[in-house]
């Protein structure tokens, strides 16, 4: 029982990352009809927004400390962050400690701009081209973006720890009446799950309860008619691309304490996110979220030692097996609608 609860938590945690990335992918596909293989790169850039903010916050000047030696035996050059000079040691340490949550504020405008520039500068030229062309160009763009990041930040992972207050684990077992230390789960992963839930709910609320969202939904259903009403739907769809980039970027920002950012992290999520979108139903936002969590939980259970011992390697293929079964029984995916990518 304890193992099941633990794997369920783990599945929800993993599924929240899948759902967040797949949500952005579906937003782009549903509005612009573009299959965006650069979406994983947007997730990765979001993560590097955290790294960038960390570096900005730790921009330093050098102070020579004659009492200490460096590895060559020379007087040690101590790097003192400028914010330490401005705000004092305790405050500056707290600001640096909270750099991951602060990076959310930093990432929102950055990702919006990147998304809009990407859409206006490149993607819009491929709206009327076949999906194969879109896949090729966006995949190429993803490689370019990751190589740029690697050139500036290197190939090694860069640690971006969570604030001290979120370090450690929560004893879920005790909460549920189990023995202590049997079901523990890291605080930050619970924060990530909560954050994903808030972002997903916000996107749905934005589309459901705002005039902008209503117009976008109308455009998704019938782009031409909305255009005939005198509404500049292209402009709104560009904004939606920016919003999708933002969602992917925020998913990346908050993911950094879970896995140290590296230039390749977007590619690691890309294929699986597409499977999530297809399983959820092309263009279906609730479908993407549902499929994200379902596949995350499936993968978590398939990774149990007891399961791997019976079915070696099942953890690596379970998502694809599930996708095959779902698509055979429900060709449009879990919540897909008739007519999407069927022409």
């Amino acid at each position: 029982m304890e193992a099941i609860v633990l794997q369920l938590l783990s599945g929800l945690d993993g599924g929240s990352a899948y759902a967040l990335i797949a949500l952005g992918l579906t937003l782009i596909f549903g509005t612009l009809g573009v299959v965006n293989f650069a979406h994983g790169a947007l997730f990765m850039i979001g993560a590097f927004c955290t790294v960038t903010l960390q570096r900005i916050l730790t921009l330093s000047h050098t102070v020579i400390d004659d009492t200490q030696k460096d590895f060559l035996g020379n007087p040690l050059k101590v790097q003192v962050p400028y914010i330490q000079d401005w705000f004092g040691e305790a405050t500056s340490a707290a600001i640096i400690d909270w750099s991951v949550p602060l990076a959310i504020i930093f990432a929102i405008p950055v990702m919006l701009i990147i998304g809009i520039v990407m859409e206006r500068g490149l993607i819009k030229h491929f709206y009327k081209r076949p999906h194969a062309d879109q896949i090729l160009v966006t995949f190429g763009l993803a490689i370019v973006l990751q190589e740029i990041i690697k050139a500036y930040y290197g190939a090694n992972p860069i640690p971006a720890p969570a604030p001290d207050v979120f370090k450690g684990s929560f004893d879920f077992g005790q909460l549920l009446g189990f023995e202590a230390n049997r079901i523990i789960y890291p605080y930050w992963r619970l924060v990530y799950f909560g954050f994903a839930t808030i972002v997903i709910a916000s996107v749905f609320a934005f589309l459901q309860f705002t005039t902008f969202g209503m117009v976008v939904r109308a455009g998704m259903a019938d782009r031409e008619t909305v255009g005939l009403l005198g509404i500049d739907i292209d402009k709104r769809f560009t904004m939606m691309f920016g919003l999708a980039a933002c969602v992917a970027g925020l998913a990346g920002v908050m993911y950094t304490p879970i896995n140290s950012p590296n230039y390749h992290m977007g590619m690691d999520f890309l294929v699986i996110s597409f499977v999530v979108v297809v399983v959820g139903g092309m263009g279906s936002l609730p479908g993407a979220v549902l499929a994200g969590f379902v596949l995350g939980i499936l993968q978590s259970f398939a990774s149990m030692r007891e399961v791997i011992e019976v079915l070696p390697g099942i953890n690596q293929v379970v998502i694809y097996l599930a996708a095959i079964i779902i698509l055979l029984t429900r060709p449009r995916g879990l919540l897909g609608k008739r007519g999407v990518m069927e022409d």
């Binding site: 304890e2 193992a3 633990l6 794997q7 938590l9 783990s10 945690d13 993993g14 200490q68 460096d70 590895f71 060559l72 040690l76 690697k150 290197g154 190939a155 090694n156 992972p157 860069i158 640690p159 720890p161 450690g168 684990s169 230390n181 049997r182 523990i184 789960y185 890291p186 930050w188 992963r189 304490p257 879970i258 896995n259 140290s260 590296n262 390749h264 992290m265 690691d268 993968q299 978590s300 990774s303 149990m304 030692r305 791997i308 953890n315 690596q316």
Partner: protein
Amino acid sequence: MSKSNFTRRGLLKTGALAGAGLSAPTLFSPVWADGHAGYTNAPAGGTVTLGFNVPQSGPYADEGADELRAYELAVEHLNGGGDGGMMNTFSSNALKGNGILGKKVEYVTGDTQTKPDAARASAKSMIEKDGAIMITGGSSSGVAVAVQALCQEAGIIFMAGLTHSNDTTGKDKKANGFRHFFNSYMSGAALAPILGANYGKDRKAYHLTADYNWGYTTEEAVRTSTEAMGWETVAAVKTPLAQTDFKDYVAPVLQSGADVLVLNHYGGNMVNSLTSAVQFGLREAQANGKNFEIIVPLYSRLMAKGAGENVKGIFGSTNWHWSLTDEGSKAFVKSFGTKYGFPPSQAAHTCYVQTLLYADAAERAGTFNPCGIAEALEGFEFDGMGNGKTLYRAEDHQCFKDVLVVKGKENPTSEFDLLEIVEVTPAAQVTYDASIFGGDLGTCNPGA
């Protein structure tokens, strides 16, 4: 009755003259004189080209960059530039700073991408197009085994870079291949006594193992050495090499009854699995009435940097560390640090040493013929290169030297000061019988 001209004295004189005549080439010129040619890429003119095959792209690109820095430094020193580095502390005095055998050292580079196919392709190109006389480098055992086999076929010496699997000089060893870096067996043998002393001999271990060649040999080595002192292995789970989030593998560990987690992971795998383990509270957890412990059998400073503060207090092993205080290490750190502004990694160290060892062997053999060089390296004992007295064992072309047991530093003073040396395990303690890992060295191939 006819009288024979042959007398006993005459026969002895003739025999002595014939013997002297036959042995003249070995007395007055090296056995593998270049004039014999008959080997691949025999250098013509005043230069000799070495091929540095390192990961310049892919997940180990930073490690590859450090290897390349070390190679460039070695070439500079061989050609008489810089401060000479370890050439000043090397026990062999064959290197004079005038290149190798009087030929100026040049080099070409290839990108292994940490993929065996790509590594073979780049090595092949350097051999066939650039005329490289020796190939060296790499940050993965899969790459090392693949390139070593290629060099064997091509008749080129392969001086392995960072490769830790037993197989490189075990079941996949080749006569043309040589490894200075230590291996999984040595890690297990060096770590076990320290683990026993610090954590006791009644422990239950849970292994997470990267699902490839190196992971298997490392798990086997650590299991064998820890079980021999009384530890029990509760479970050993293979993890996909492409795994990025290890939560599903780490989450059940506490429920398994284990009180030690061994992470047989390297590179990004190690960074991510260790991060997950620390996030799940394993470092602070209690199990079986003891403090739960985490072990990383193979440490690298570059990887430790990626894992950040998660490495604190965690034991592992390493081939070399810049904080060593022997003359060789100090000379290398000074040369490298002055040129590049930071201390070298263990990958840089082994690559630098391998280049000097190759050059020294060529000087001592008096030839670039790979078989002459192999003969000079086999059974060669040396010192002054940072690991104490070292033997290049003839039977498997594996170096035997001291191994470092290290621990993540609790209070690092700089971004480089991440590991502290807990013990220098003497070479004798990590030496094993060459036959235990099987394989056949075969015979040296000079190519051409």
